[in-house]
Amino acid sequence: MKLDVRMSGLGGQGMVTAANLLGMAAVSDGNYSIVIPFFGAEKRLAPTESYVRISPQKVYEKGEVGYPDAIMVFHPEVITKGKCYTMPFYEGLRPNGWLIINTESPLLSEKDARSIADLNVRIINVPASRIALDVAGTELATNMALLGGLVGATGIVTLEGLEKAIAQRFGGGKFTASATTAVLDDILKRKYAKTQELLEKNMAAIRKTYELVKEMCKPVNSK
C-alpha cells in the first residue's frame, strides 16, 4: 500500500516527531519512506506541517505533500482559525482518503464539509489530547494518540513497527533533533521515571486510539 500523509498542527505538538516515527515504523516493516518537515516557522504554536510518504517501492518524490491520502489535524485551531500552512487545510486531499482530527466534537464548517463531501473521505474525529492525558499522563503524547488513529484507520504500519520506532527514538540511542525538539524530549523524559515507562505509556496511548478508530472505521469498511 502506498500512502502520502500530511500532518498539520501547532509548533510543539510533535508533528515532526510523529512523522519521523511513522517513517521509521514503515522502514522497520520493510517498506520505503521519505519524511520531511515543513521548514521556516518552527516555533512554538506557529502553524507547522510535516509530511510522510510510504510505499513498497523506493520513494523519489521530495518536498511537501500537496496531494495527501491522509491528513492528520493535531490542533482544532488548524480548522477553526486557519492556523495552517496549507489553506484550506484539506487542499489537495485525494478521493477516498482519510481526515483524522484531534477534537472532542465535530469542527468542520458547513462549507468545508460540502467541499469534502464529493471526495468520499472518511472523517475521523478523535479526542487525541484527552486520550494522551488520560492514558499517557501528558498532552505531549497527543502525537502518539493520533498516530494510533492513523494506523487504526489505514493499517499503513504495524504496531510492532511503531513500538520499535519509539524505542529507537526515545530509548537513548542517538537521534539528531533540533534545539527546541531536544528541549521537549527532555520535558517528556522527565515525566516518566524510566524510559521503559515512557515507551509503555506512549504505546498505550497509541493502542487506545488505534482500537477506537479501528472500531469507528468498521461500518465504512464493511459497506
Binding site: N20, G23, M24, V27, Y32, S33, I34, V35, I36, P37, F39, G40, V59, Y60, E61, K62, G63, E64, G66, Y67, T176, S178
Partner: protein
C-alpha cells in the same frame, strides 16, 4: 569510537558491505566525513547545514576527527580551512546560501592553490528578501570558481559523493577543491534509507607529499606565488604566470574526468536514452523529474531522464551526444536563473529545442505534477517532437 582500520578507496566504494540506515541528509554527509578520515573540520553553523556541523563537532569529541573548531564566520572558516589544507591535512567544511556568498573570495583561492578541500554546500535562498528555504542559485555562481562541483539528488548521493569527492580531489593530477552541493531541506532535512559502509572502516590518510603544491610547515617555505606574489611585479612574466596558472587549474579539472568515470560511474545517469522527450536536470529536480517521467510513461508518452551529477567539469561531450536524439529537452531547476539550462544550451547543436523550466525558486517545492503539466503544455503548443 570503535577501533578503526584503513581500507582502500576502491574497496570502500565498490566492495564494502552496506548497512541500511534511516537518515536525514545532514546525518548522511557527517557519516561520510567520519569514514573519510578527516584531519580537521572548521565550520560555522547556518541553516540548513547546522545539524551536519553539529554532528561533526560531536564526532570530534568522539575522536573521529583530529581537530575541530567553530570559526567566527564563513569567511574566517573558508580561510582557515585553506590554511589547514596548505599545511597538508585533509579538511572538511560546509555552508549554505548567504554563508557561501560571504566566503566567496576563498573558493578561487582554494582552486588556485590546488587545495583538495571538500566543502558541502547545502544550498538555500539568497537574500533579499531573507530566505532559509531551498533554492540552488549559488551552484551557478560556484561553477566558475575553478572548483569541481557535484550535485547530489538525495541523502544516499550526498554520502557517496562526499567520499568520492575526497578520492578524486586528492588525485595528484587533479588536486582541486570539490563542492558537494545539495538542495537544502529537500536533502538536508529529508529522511530516507541510506546505505552506509561500516563505521570502523576509513579511507587511507591524506598524503601531502604527492601534492603538486608543496605543503608548507616550519621547514618548508610556501609555494612561490605565496611568498613572492606576482602582484608585486607588473611585467609580462607575472601576467603570463597568472594566466598560465589559471589554465593549469582548468586543465586539472579536465584531468578529473577519468577519475569521475572510475569512482562515480560517470558524470551523468541516463534512463531511456532514446526517448523523444528528455528531462535533463540535477539535484532534487531530478528526483521530481523521475516521478514525472514514470507518470508520463504510464500514459504512453515517451519521456527519458538525464541526471547530471557533475556540474564541473561539465559533461559537455556526453550531453551534446545525448541531445542529438530527443525532439525536445526540458530542464527543470530549483533557481530563477536557469543556470543548468544555460550550461546545456551552450554545448548543444540545435539548441532551440531546449526548454528552460519549470523553474521553482524562493523555497517552494516542485511537484512532479508541475513538470508533467508544463511538458504537456509544450507538447500541445506544437513544439517539435
Amino acid at each position: 569510537m570503535p577501533e578503526r582500520r584503513v581500507v582502500s578507496p576502491e574497496y570502500m566504494l565498490f566492495d564494502a558491505p552496506r548497512e541500511k540506515k534511516y537518515l536525514i541528509g545532514n546525518e548522511a554527509v557527517a557519516e561520510a566525513a567520519k569514514r573519510a578520515n578527516v584531519d580537521m573540520a572548521i565550520v560555522y553553523p547556518i541553516t540548513p547545514q547546522s545539524e551536519a556541523t553539529h554532528i561533526i563537532g560531536d564526532m570530534y569529541a568522539q575522536g573521529y576527527i583530529r581537530d575541530y573548531y567553530r570559526g567566527e564566520d564563513e569567511f574566517n572558516v573558508m580561510s582557515a580551512v585553506a590554511g589547514a589544507a596548505m599545511g597538508g591535512v585533509r579538511v572538511f567544511t560546509a555552508t549554505s546560501g548567504p554563508g557561501t556568498l560571504r566566503a566567496f573570495e576563498m573558493f578561487p583561492v582554494w582552486a588556485g592553490h590546488r587545495l583538495p578541500i571538500v566543502c558541502a554546500f547545502m544550498t538555500r535562498g539568497v537574500n533579499s528578501p531573507l530566505s532559509i528555504q531551498p533554492d540552488n542559485i549559488e551552484i551557478g555562481w560556484l561553477a566558475d570558481t575553478g572548483m569541481l562541483i557535484f550535485h547530489a539528488e538525495d541523502p544516499q548521493d550526498f554520502f557517496d559523493m562526499t567520499l568520492q569527492a575526497y578520492i578524486i580531489a586528492e588525485q595528484p593530477e587533479v588536486h582541486l577543491p570539490v563542492g558537494v552541493c545539495v538542495d537544502g531541506f529537500f536533502v538536508t532535512h529529508t529522511r530516507e534509507i541510506v546505505e552506509l559502509t561500516p563505521e570502523d572502516e576509513m579511507l587511507p590518510p591524506y598524503d601531502p607529499s604527492v601534492s603538486p603544491v608543496v605543503a608548507m610547515d616550519m621547514e618548508t617555505v610556501p609555494v612561490r606565488h605565496m611568498k613572492d606574489p606576482f602582484v608585486m611585479k607588473s611585467n609580462y612574466i607575472s601576467y603570463n604566470t597568472h594566466a598560465s596558472w589559471q589554465q593549469e587549474v582548468r586543465a586539472a579539472a579536465e584531468r578529473a574526468r577519468k577519475h569521475i568515470y572510475k569512482y562515480m560511474g560517470g558524470p551523468i545517469e541516463v534512463t531511456h536514452p532514446d526517448a523523444e522527450i528528455m528531462f535533463m536536470t540535477s539535484g532534487t529536480a531530478a528526483a521530481q523529474a523521475r516521478v514525472a517521467m514514470e507518470r508520463m510513461r504510464a500514459e504512453g508518452i515517451d519521456v527519458g531522464l538525464v541526471k547530471i551529477k557533475v556540474i564541473r567539469p561539465f559533461p559537455e561531450k556526453e550531453i551534446a551526444e545525448l541531445a542529438e536524439v530527443p525532439g525536445i529537452i526540458i530542464v527543470p531547476e530549483h533557481n530563477i536563473t536557469g543556470w543548468l539550462a544555460r550550461e546545456i544550451r551552450s554545448r548543444v547543436n540545435n539548441n532551440s529545442k531546449i526548454y528552460s523550466g519549470p523553474r521553482v525558486f524562493g523555497g517552494m517545492t516542485m511537484p512532479p505534477e508541475v513538470i508533467v503539466k508544463e511538458t504537456k503544455k509544450l507538447l500541445q503548443a506544437g513544439v517539435a517532437v
